[in-house]
Structures are given as C-alpha cells and as structure tokens.
C-alpha cells in the first residue's frame, strides 16, 4: 500500500480508536471463545488418545472365573495381540477407605503411568496406588498401607503413584456421579503377594476341607498360583476393525468367559468420552453464538466505518486513485485489526480458556499430561473471520465506489421511504412525546443497526439465562434424584459371597428393603445385542418410581418391565412392546412386556419388581439394602462392601456442580463482556450518527439531560425487547443442550426458576443501561459549531 494512504489508515484508526478497539475485542473474544473451547475439547481427545495408545488400553474385558489355561487359549485366538489376567476385588483399608484392588502378573496392557516411584515388577513386594487417592489421603511413596479383604490382610509399601488407562473415572457405584477420591481409589499389587495360605484356604473351602493336613496329603504338589481366582482377562487386539470376531471367538471357545465387555462400554471410557461429546456440542453452540453475535456487530461497525468515509472515498477518486487502490486501502482497516485480534484470540483461547477448562476436567479424570490442542478448525475459523471482515469492507467500499465520484463527494442523504415513517404519524404514535417519536423514527430509519443491537443483547441475555439455567436444572435433578427417587439415608452394598443365613442377619438388623442390579444384553429385532442393566427392586418406598411429571408411581406392577423414558425414546419402545434380554454369563433369553415408563435422571435402564423376576424363575440375590437407620458412626458392617451415605452422594453431585459452575461463570463472564462491548460499540455508532442532531437540539436550547434521556431511551427499549426475546430463547437453548449434548445415560431437561429469568433480565438490562449512561456522558461535550460544520 502506498505510504500516505497507509499513514491515513493508521491515523483514521487512531481517530476512531474506541470503535476499532471494540472491533478488536469482539473478534478477539469470539475467536477466543471458539478456539478455546475447541482447544479444550481437542485437548481432551488428544490427551486420552495418547494415553490410551502409549499405555496400551485393552480392547475387551473378559469377565468370569478365568484361569491361566483360559489366558493361553485367548492368546491363541487370531488377531489377539496380547492378554493379561487380573483379579479385581473391592478391598478396604485400615481407615475404612475403599480400594478397587487389582492383582496382576504383568503390566503390558493398561500400563501404569508412574508419577512417583517405580514401574510394575512382579517380584516386588508393595502396592502401586491411585495418584489422586494418594494425594487426597496424603500417602507418599515409601509409606505402608493396610488393605483388607475378607480374611486377607496385606501390609504393603507404596512403590508407585500411578494413573492407569482404564481407571480415568472410578466411582463406587452408579449412584455416585463425581468420584470421591478421598474415600475411594484403585490399587495394584503383584499376584506374587497373595499368600499361599489364603489361596489354600479358598480351595479348601471350595472342597469343604477343614484340616490343612488332609488337604496337603491330597495335594502334595499344590501350586497355589494355579488357583488364583482371576476374574478378568484384559484383551488387546491387533486389528481393531476386526475386534468383533475376537469377541465371537472368545464367546465360542472360552467356557469360563461370562461376559465380554467392549472397553468403549466401560464407565471410565464412556464418561470421559461423554464429556468430550458434550463439549463438542458446546463448541457448536456457545462459541458459535459468541462468534456469531461478535461478527454481526463487527460487520455493522465496519460497514459504518467505511460509509462514514464516503466523502473521503469520493475525494480519493477525484484525485485519481483507482478503485482497486481505494478498496485495498479500506480493506486494510478491518484486515489488520481482525488479523491481530484473531491471533490474540487464538492465543488466549489456547492458553486461557483451553488450559482453564482442561485443568477443571483433569480434577475429575485421572489422566496424565492433560493439555489443550489447537487444531486446524480454529485456524480456519480465524481465517474465515478475517476474510468476512475483509469481504464486508470490500462490499461496502465497492458499493460506494460504484457511484461516480461527483455523487460520492456528497454526503448521502438517508433514503427514507415516506410510508415507513407514516406509521409514526398515526394512532398512539401521534400521542407520543417528542423523545419517543424521535426514537421510533430513528429506529425505523436505522433498522439494520437496531437489529444488530437487538441480536447482540438477545445473545447476551440468552447466554446468561442458559448458563444460570443449567445450574438451576442440575439442582432440580439433584432434588429429583436424592429427594424424590432416593428415599433412604444409607445404601449398604452387600458382598457377593454372602450366604443366605448372613443375609437374613442383615435383614433383621437393617430391614428388607433391597435391590439387585443385573448386567444384561438386550437383543433387538435384527439380533444386535446391546449392554444394559436391570434394576430389580424390592425396596418398596426407599427407591421410588416417578413418571414424567415426577409423580410417584406408588405400586409398580409385577407383570412386566418398566423402561426409562429416554431409553424408550432412543429405542422407539412403546407401551406393550416386548423386549428380549439375557443375563450376562447366561445363555437363556427372556421376553418381557413393557408395562410402564419411569424417569431416571442418571441411568437409562430397565426396571422390574422382585416378584416379576421370580415369576421368570430367576433367583433374586439382592446386592443392596436401603435403610433409614442412623449409621453415621458405623464404619464397617460384616458382609457389606460399602456403606453409602445419601449425604455423600449429594456431596459428590455438588462437587460436579461446582466444576460446572466454574465453567459457567466463565461463559457468563464472556457473555456479559461481549454483550457489554456490543452494546457499547453500537452505542458509539448510534451516538456518532446522531451527534449532528444532538448538536442541533443543543443549539435549539435542549438541556443536556433531556438529550441524554433521548439517547438512553432507545437503548433501554432495545434492551427490554431483547430480554423478552432472549429469556425464552435461553430456556430453549438450555433444554436443547441438556437433551442433546449430555451423555446418553442422563435424562435431563431445562428447569429454570423464575428468579433466574428475573436475575438474567435485570443483569442484561443493567449492562445495557450502564453502557448507555456511560456513552451519554459524551453529550455534555458536544461542540455545537464543529458538529454542525462537520456535517455540511
């Protein structure tokens, strides 16, 4: 670009600095929001992809009573790259914490990521401990912990603090949403550490031998390692695309394999991936809205900036500048600003939004090296933003340049079609006072500017309603889950090895309100099987059924199954339809009629009564007892794996909410900032365009206050109309987000309190009002002579 024009450009920018700063900020915030959330989502994905691949996450978990021979057979199957045995049990510690304890022989699949300490070694005596659990409980490498399981007690030295790819997210059971790292963690110990005596006692129990000498005489060469009761084989396949064939082969050939679970269906994997999928919708919605309203405002501003240079464009043409030179000159205005803003937006997006959101996620998921990732989409969006700004400048400039220079040199008289303003001469408009009439006409004459103002404030209001509404809705579901559906104080998770007699003892102490959760596969018409679970209830009023309107279904019927609404919607189930299912590890299929639907915010599954289960000739073996007895001082109950306090469950939920809150505060912050900037920017535009008229009013003797009122009035109108549009849109946005973005196993919708709408409306109005008031201060300083002269 030629030197003088370049100088002209920089000086023009300096002269209209506040307008260009707002353009800069709007683009920057829009790009920052988009690229930040994108960097966060892609970072989540890249972090897990890297961890899964480098630490060799298994493809399948084969469950059942598995042996070394089973392992050998699985390894022989085509396409199986490697397989490892694991014994997983739920153990407790000396201070009554719960540990998901895994005994392994080797660690080539789901390899440890060691933060501190050493790598796994079969011959080493000690424990590798969940890093978060260790931090929460202040356990360090070298400390010794006690783990207990039934009669087994192991004092183990902590050899390493670790993350493991299949333990990104661990909760004690499905009723917990947010992991409680202080109370629950995972640990790994070499199978070499299991005492021979313990295995021997298990085998003796199995064969009903009480005297060890008798046992030794029968089994003089007892090899205890052959009798370790492994319950899991992790299988890693070569060709992932053909992994279904491996599953089929295991099903066919390994008799002990009771269930083969695709790793993509495990809670750790699903929850992490669900978080990414949710986020991906946020990328499209929140950042899309941010970018959209920012761009609307930038486009309006750039159009006005170029239009305000009309006579200068005419002068340049009169001086002999070619259209191309003039166009390039004006394209430069938006181009350089938008490039600079996009670069800063990308950097802030990555370092500020990306890092903040990733850090929040990394507090929930145990995964090393979480970092944001900037992918090509963000760069493309930044380039598109720059191109749009350049294109808008180009189009506006070209429209002016199309006129001949003689016309361009004259200020454009706004084209007002008489009939547009006719409405302001009739009916109620006739009775309006001067300032209202003036504002109505100004709006009618500047429809585009008014529309952009509306769009900006509507967007701002909508985002505030949505962000606050998400919190309301989450709170609503906490209430529904923990006040309406769960009507107990404590849930006792019963040990799977409990005898009938021991169970009766528990009933006598804690009541007979029980449930059982069965892992099942549902077969559809095409024979495709999908994992789910059946909640079998005999908990009467302790775990309640609710319908769509949250009314309690007092007595569930015994002649079929209930299906949750969302599952029914997803699968197209109707009342009276039949579903075919089988229990994991069993071959027999059952067909059950759907006799009703129930709402469950957290799990989308099938529910039936104990009576119905027994009518199918399936034994009912409860795995949970619900009670309202005060167990606050009870640390341990015989044959009970864990005691869950409803308050702890609620606390877990509120931890998750507090994480959400931080994200939402950021979103609200950006929405308010962006809304404020847009209102300020459009206010400046509107002020600049009215300056001449305000100067005239001043000359006519209007007081500053009266003129300020005229100015503020219009912005107030726009804010009020925007609020009326923004509030319902915010509700629909929240509802849509909850229904589509959230993981499949949740059933949430928007439940926004009236007070939230009121707060959002007042907040939006205040932002608009304060910005208008701030701008109105300029009216005091209008120089009548130069304002009027400048418009000649």
């Amino acid at each position: 670009m030629v030197v003088m024009l370049k100088r002209k450009m920089f000086r023009d920018i300096r002269k209209n600095l506040s307008q260009f700063i707002t353009i800069f900020l709007m683009i920057m915030i829009g790009v920052m929001a988009y690229s930040g959330i994108e960097a966060y989502m892609d970072g989540m994905q890249a972090t897990s992809d890297k961890f899964y691949s480098e630490n060799n996450l298994q493809d399948y978990n084969v469950m059942g009573a598995l042996t070394q021979d089973d392992l050998k057979d699985i390894k022989k199957i085509d396409n199986v790259k490697d397989a490892e045995l694991k014994l997983s049990i739920t153990a407790t510690t000396d201070n009554d914490k719960t540990l998901l304890l895994n005994f392994i022989d080797s660690n080539n699949i789901s390899k440890f990521y060691v933060y501190k300490g050493e790598n796994f070694d079969f011959n080493k005596s000690g424990v590798w401990l969940d890093n978060f659990y260790a931090i929460e409980n202040d356990i360090k490498v070298g400390d010794t912990i006690l783990v207990k399981y039934e009669t087994l007690e192991l004092h183990e030295k902590v050899l390493g603090l670790i993350n493991v790819p299949d333990h990104l997210y661990d909760v004690r059971d499905a009723s917990e949403l947010y992991p409680d790292r202080k109370e629950f963690g995972f640990a790994y110990i070499s199978t070499n550490e299991i005492p021979e005596s313990y295995i021997k006692s298990l085998v003796m129990k199995e064969f009903n031998i009480t005297d060890e000498k008798v046992f030794d005489s029968i089994n003089p060469n007892f090899e205890y390692s052959k009798y370790i009761p492994y319950n899991n084989v992790m299988v890693d396949v070569d060709n992932v695309e053909k992994k279904e064939e491996v599953k089929d082969k295991i099903e066919e050939n390994i008799e002990n394999a009771k269930a083969i679970i695709n790793i993509e269906n495990t809670s750790s994997y699903v929850t992490y991936q669900g978080e990414i999928d949710e986020g991906k919708t946020y990328v499209g919605v929140f950042s899309g809205i941010f970018l959209f309203i920012a761009m609307l405002s930038v486009i309006t501003t750039m159009t006005r900036v170029v239009k305000n240079q009309r006579t200068q464009i005419g002068t340049l043409k009169a001086l002999g500048f070619s259209n191309t030179k003039v166009l390039f000159h004006y394209i430069g205005y938006g181009f350089w600003i938008s490039i600079a803003a996009s670069i800063v937006g990308l950097l802030l997006g990555y370092f500020f939004i990306g890092n903040t959101f990733i850090d929040l996620e990394m507090a929930m998921f145990e995964i090393p090296n979480g970092h944001p990732v900037m992918n090509s989409n963000s760069y493309i969006v930044a380039v598109i933003v720059v191109l749009i700004v350049a294109l808008i400048t180009y189009i506006t400039g070209r429209t002016i340049l199309k006129e001949n220079p003689a016309e361009t040199l004259r200020n454009k008289i706004p084209s007002i079609k008489g009939n547009v303003l006719d409405i302001t001469k009739k009916g109620i408009f006739k009775k309006l006072n001067f300032s209202s009439k003036w504002n109505v006409r100004d709006i009618l004459r500047n429809k585009m500017r008014t529309f952009m103002g509306l769009a900006g404030v509507v967007g701002c209001c909508m985002l505030i309603v949505c962000a606050l509404g998400m919190l309301d809705s989450m709170n609503y579901f906490v209430d529904l889950q923990f006040e309406t559906i769960y009507n107990f104080d404590y849930k006792l998770n019963i040990n799977s090895t409990i005898t009938d007699k021991e169970l009766e003892d528990l009933y006598s102490k804690y009541g007979k309100n029980t449930s059982e959760t069965l892992g099942i596969e549902i077969k559809d018409k095409d024979g495709k099987k999908e994992a789910n679970n059946i909640f079998v209830t005999d908990a009467s009023n302790y775990v309640r059924f609710v319908d769509r309107k949250n009314n309690i279904i007092s007595k569930p019927a015994d002649n079929g199954v209930y299906v949750t609404y969302k599952l029914a919607e997803n699968k197209g189930y109707k009342l009276g339809d039949k579903i075919t299912w089988h229990i994991y590890g069993e071959d027999k299929y059952y067909t059950s009629k759907i006799i009703g639907f129930n709402k469950d915010p957290q799990n989308q599954n099938v529910t039936m009564t104990k009576n119905y289960l027994e009518s199918l000739n399936i034994d009912y073996k409860p795995d949970a007892i619900y009670t309202n007895m005060d167990l606050s001082n009870t640390k341990e109950i015989k044959n009970v794996e864990t005691i869950q306090d409803i308050e702890n469950l609620k606390e877990g939920m509120s931890n998750m909410l507090s994480m959400m809150k931080t994200m939402l505060v950021l979103i609200i912050g950006i929405a308010v900032l962006l809304g404020g900037i847009i209102i300020y920017n459009l206010g400046i535009l509107s002020y600049t365009e009215k300056q001449y008229q305000f100067a005239t009013l001043k000359v006519l003797g209007f007081k500053d206050k009266a003129i300020k009122n005229i100015f503020v009035k219009q912005n107030n109108w726009i804010a009020i109309i925007s609020i009326f549009i923004g509030c319902p849109l915010g509700f629909y946005l929240t509802d849509w987000l909850f229904k589509t973005a959230i993981e499949e196993h949740y059933d949430f919708g928007a439940y926004i309190n009236t007070i939230t709408f009121i707060i959002s409306a007042i907040g939006t109005f205040l932002v608009s009002y304060l910005v208008s008031k701030f701008l109105a201060r300029k009216i005091k300083n209008i120089d009548m002579v130069s304002s009027l002269k400048g418009n000649e």
Partner: protein, 233 residues
C-alpha cells in the same frame, strides 16, 4: 487555433425514480489553454454538474467533451481514473482534505497516483504553508485549509484546475488570497475553471460563462480583466 476544451451538445439527465431531471440540456462551449474562466449561474443551473463532467467525475448522457484533443466523454472508468490522476486538479468548497493526514502528507498524497508531481516543499512555499507543513487540517483556518486543497491540486501539475466555489466558505480577505493563487496558476498556463455564485470574481476572469437552466446563456471573452486588488469585494 483550436480550443483546448471543446464541449458539444453535452447533456446530462438524472433519473430519480420514474422522474427525469435534465441538469444539462445541450452545452456547447470552448475554452483556450491557460484561460482563467468563471462559470456563473444561479443554484440548480447546472454549474457543478458541468464541472463534474469536465473533471471526469461523472459521465455525460450525450455529447462530446474534448480536452486537449481527447474526448473524455467516451472514456471508460479506468481511463477517467487515469485522467483525474494526471490531468485534472480539483478544489472544493469544503476543501475535502484528509483530516488524518498532515498538510505535507495531504499534498504528497498525490505522489501515490501520478509521476508528474512537483516538489511538495516548493508547492507549500508557493501557497504560504511551509511553516504549517506538519500541522493537521483541523489546526488550520478555513483559508489555510483551502490553500492545502490548492497545493494538493497543483502538486500534480494539472492541465486543468477545476474549482467549485473555492471561496464560498471563506471571508473576503482569505478569498482574495485564494483567488490570487488560482490566477497565478492560470498565468503559468494552467487552465483554471471556477464555478461560483459570486459575480465579482467574474471581473478578474479571462472568460465568463453564464449558465441557466442547464444551458449556456452567454460565453464572453473579457478583453480587460481586472487585477484582483482592483476589485471591490
């Protein structure tokens, strides 16, 4: 000798909606090189339209506009841009100088469009603005701003200097100074054409053309133009 500027039956019609408005209804006139020409006429007579056509800022509906043997009425937009860049200097009533460029920069702006430009220092000296070279337009008086406009126009060494009410926004003393500068250009063989309401300026002109209702009412050569100082403003 043929005239430097020759207009034949030049018409300009504007269409506003369905209505047609004839700004020029067949203008014929000739102007010689180096003449100091004043075009007079009431508001709406078509003076500015004529000036715009001469300056290549607008296109005639019909007729020919020959300037230095070339008919600019047949020029394409590109040719007109080149013509404005190299051959014509404009001076406007409200100066139309770039508010964000200094005096010196406004004048040097011309270097970006033509290679035939003069030395800006000489030009600024000649219009008496050298000491204000680094000032911004808003720091100058109206007369000084108009002198910037003149300096910018003559910077490119134009063949024709077109002035639309150049003294319209100035007081009489400043107006006289501006006219002196313009007369000086004419003395240096640049054709100067001034469009004005002010009939007093006609007394110093070599040629006075009166326009009325889009037509030339009279085109008279003034054999005895007055010296500017002799005119009673």
């Amino acid at each position: 000798m043929s005239s430097f500027i020759e207009l034949k039956n030049v018409k300009k019609t504007y269409e506003i909606g369905e209505q047609k408005f004839n700004a020029l209804s067949g203008i014929d006139l000739s102007i010689n090189q180096g003449e100091f020409v004043v075009i007079l006429g009431p508001s709406g007579a078509g003076k500015s339209t004529l000036l715009n056509l001469l300056g290549g800022m607008d296109k005639a509906t019909s007729g020919s506009i020959v300037i230095g043997e070339k008919d600019i009425a047949t020029y394409t937009d590109k040719e007109l841009t080149r013509y404005r860049a190299n051959d014509v200097g404009f001076i406007f009533q409200f100066y139309n100088i770039m508010p964000t460029l200094t005096v010196d920069e406004n004048v040097n702006l011309i270097k970006d469009v033509t290679n035939t430009s003069k030395n800006s220092k000489d030009i600024l000296k000649s219009v008496g603005l050298l000491k204000h070279a680094d000032k911004f337009p808003q720091e100058l008086s109206g007369g000084e701003q108009q002198r910037v406009s003149i300096a910018r126009a003559i910077m490119k060494n134009p063949k024709v200097l077109l002035c639309d009410e150049p003294t319209g926004a100035l007081d009489s003393k400043t107006g006289i100074e501006v006219l002196k500068l313009l007369k000086q250009q004419s003395d240096e063989d640049t054709t100067v054409i001034i469009v004005t309401h002010n009939s007093l300026i006609a007394e110093i002109a070599d040629r006075v053309i009166k326009i009325k209702n889009g037509k030339v009412e009279s085109n008279e050569f003034n054999n005895h133009p007055k010296n500017i100082d002799e005119v009673k403003w």
